[in-house]
Amino acid sequence: MQPVIAVENVSRLYRRGVEEIHALVDVSLAIPAGLFVAFMGPSGSGKSTLLNLVSGIDRPNTGSVMVAGQRLNDLSEDELAQWRARHVGLIFQFFNLIPVLSARDNVALPLLLTPLDKRERLRRAETALRVVGLEQRAEHSPRTLSGGEQQRVAIARAIVTDPDIIVADEPTGDLDARNAEAVLALLRQLRTDFGKTVVMVTHDPRALRFVDEAYHLDKGVLLEGEAAGRAAEAIRLAAGHSSAGAPGTAP
């Protein structure tokens, strides 16, 4: 299957004063379209940097990032913004909804970047809210929604433009167990029902039960073979989920 995300020999170096931080070192991976994958690893392992690269928010120092047929290295800041608007839906740990807008307006916000008219934007926002089961809460402001509901609104905002990939940065990090499971199930549903490619950064061991594949990173390096297996096992053991099934075994 043709990969929707192809990362080849990518390195990313940050300079903080005189200090050099090697966030990613020679990382290569290919993610086929229509999979739900997770980038996992301890803090500072480079998983968020990798997520920023595949979502076109950041650019590598070396190597190539190809997503949805577009080599992102070649795009300027403004071209990347246009590309993100068309191809990427973003979900954040803290939901990051605009507090002065209703749930419906928050969902409709990315549609401002499309040529759709007002009526069509409204229709699509309501459809997205229906997908996440919040059509009854369309008029509510984020302050009046629970954490789980806010994250579902954020998911509706991410899918409303019908992007090629959905990128989620710690989407369960600020949720209780029940809501975390619901959000993971919803992300899984986007993959199974709508064929979306979902890429997620997470510390949450529960994610292993929902994703098709988990990529493990440590100190900027993508772990492979036995090292990756040990990392996955360590996560399962830490969470007491050793019998929950192999990665990619959806519930």
Binding site: I57, A81, Q82
Partner: protein
């Protein structure tokens, strides 16, 4: 969801801050508009009270220095002079108030009507002014202020001469804004002599009506030539020039006020810019999220800039409207209250409206552009690193 809705929603985010910032801009624009009405207002006052064919003849050393009363007769002989009247500041205080509250002059009743035909005092009242030695003609503003009417008797105590005079009001200057009072020069002269003083041998000004507007300069030169090398040389000037020099010092004051207002406006720009910067800082996370969603730097800049521009323009329009309402109220009340009389001339004209609205746009432009540019130009990943 539309961009205007996003802008308005963001303006309503912190209602108190928006109201205070808008209020500051509104008051600054109102203040500037009121001050901008002053030069035109002063011109209007001057045009109303002055004429180009009327000349003031006074001592070259200044209007407080006298010239001989006999000089008035010589002036009347000058070719081109239609009429001339000798006037003297009486400085009369209305007994009930004890201080000078309106300008009052001694004049020659037989000449005053010819020099001031534009004051429209009815001929019959001018005739009464000549008939009654103690007669007085009073401006409508002062008549209204004290509730006087024709036929009333009043007493003025002079702050220049050691006496009081009982006066009979025989006429009215029908100009709503006129505070003047004229009394007979001869009446004062006789009253002084009756109290053992010398008569009134001098005057402070001679007002001259020139027959031909094209010959005003020639007539002024001819009058001043009459007193050349005497102990009281005269300096003549048109009434408009006389009031212009009088208002000149006031216009200097207006310039100072305009400079101060400019500085106040600058402060308002800094305050508004600081408020906009605070708003942008508080929303760094949201801006980062919008940028990562795909909103371009241009879209972010335009949205933030539009907020500042909408706020300052709305506040500016309100400020202009407030200035317009205030000057309108002053105009409406100037007929009712003597104290507000001259203020009725200050009007918010179309150019003032344009300048006021332009000023508010300038405030929005300067206050909004810097923080909006700052927020838009930062790379999205840098902002995300800071806020997540």
């Amino acid at each position: 969801m539309t961009y205007p809705r996003l802008v308005l929603a963001n303006l309503g985010r912190n209602k108190l801050r928006t109201a205070l910032t808008g209020g500051a801009i509104m008051l600054a624009v109102m203040l500037v508009c009121l001050l901008l009405t002053m030069p035109n207002g002063l011109d209007a006052i001057m045009n109303r009270v002055s004429s180009n064919t009327r000349i003031s003849v006074h001592n070259k050393a200044g209007i407080v220095y006298p010239i001989p009363y006999s000089f008035a007769r010589k002036v009347r002989q000058v070719d081109g002079v239609e009429a001339a009247v000798a006037t003297m500041w009486f400085g009369g205080a209305f007994e009930e108030e004890g201080k000078v509250t309106f300008p009052n002059f001694t004049v020659e009743p037989e000449h005053i009507g010819a020099v001031y035909p534009d004051y429209n005092v009815p001929a019959a009242q001018l005739a009464d002014f000549q008939r009654y030695r103690d007669g007085a003609i009073v401006g409508r503003q002062t008549m209204k202020r004290y509730g006087w009417k024709i036929g009333d008797r009043i007493t003025l105590r002079s702050t220049v001469f050691p006496l009081s005079l009982d006066l009979r009001i025989v006429g009215e200057m029908p100009n709503e804004g006129s505070p003047l009072l004229w009394l007979s020069r001869e009446y004062l002269d006789q009253a002084l002599k009756a109290r053992g003083f010398r008569g009134l041998g001098v005057v402070t000004s001679i007002w001259v009506k020139v027959r031909d507007p094209n010959r005003v300069n020639q007539v002024m030169r001819a009058i001043d030539d009459l007193s050349r090398n005497s102990s009281a040389e005269t300096g003549s000037e048109t009434e408009r020039s006389f009031f212009a020099s009088f208002f000149g010092s006031l216009q200097g004051f207006v310039k100072i006020i305009l400079i101060v207002t400019g500085l106040v406006t600058l402060c308002i720009i800094f305050i508004a810019a600081n408020t906009a910067s605070m708003a942008v800082r508080e929303r760094a996370t949201e801006i980062a999220v919008l940028r990562s969603m795909g909103f371009s730097r241009h879209a972010i800049f335009t949205t933030l800039f539009a907020e500042a521009l909408v706020l300052s323009t709305l506040a500016g329009v309100l400020g202009v409207a407030l200035a317009w309402a205030l000057t309108g109220a002053l105009r409406a009340f100037s007929g009712w209250s003597a104290a507000l009389g001259p203020l009725g001339s200050f009007m918010v004209t179309t150019p003032v409206v344009i300048q006021g609205v332009s000023l508010s746009l300038l405030i929005g432009l300067l206050a909004g552009s810097v923080p909006a540019y700052g927020a838009a130009r930062r790379p999205v990943v840098e902002v995300l690193h800071e806020v997540f």
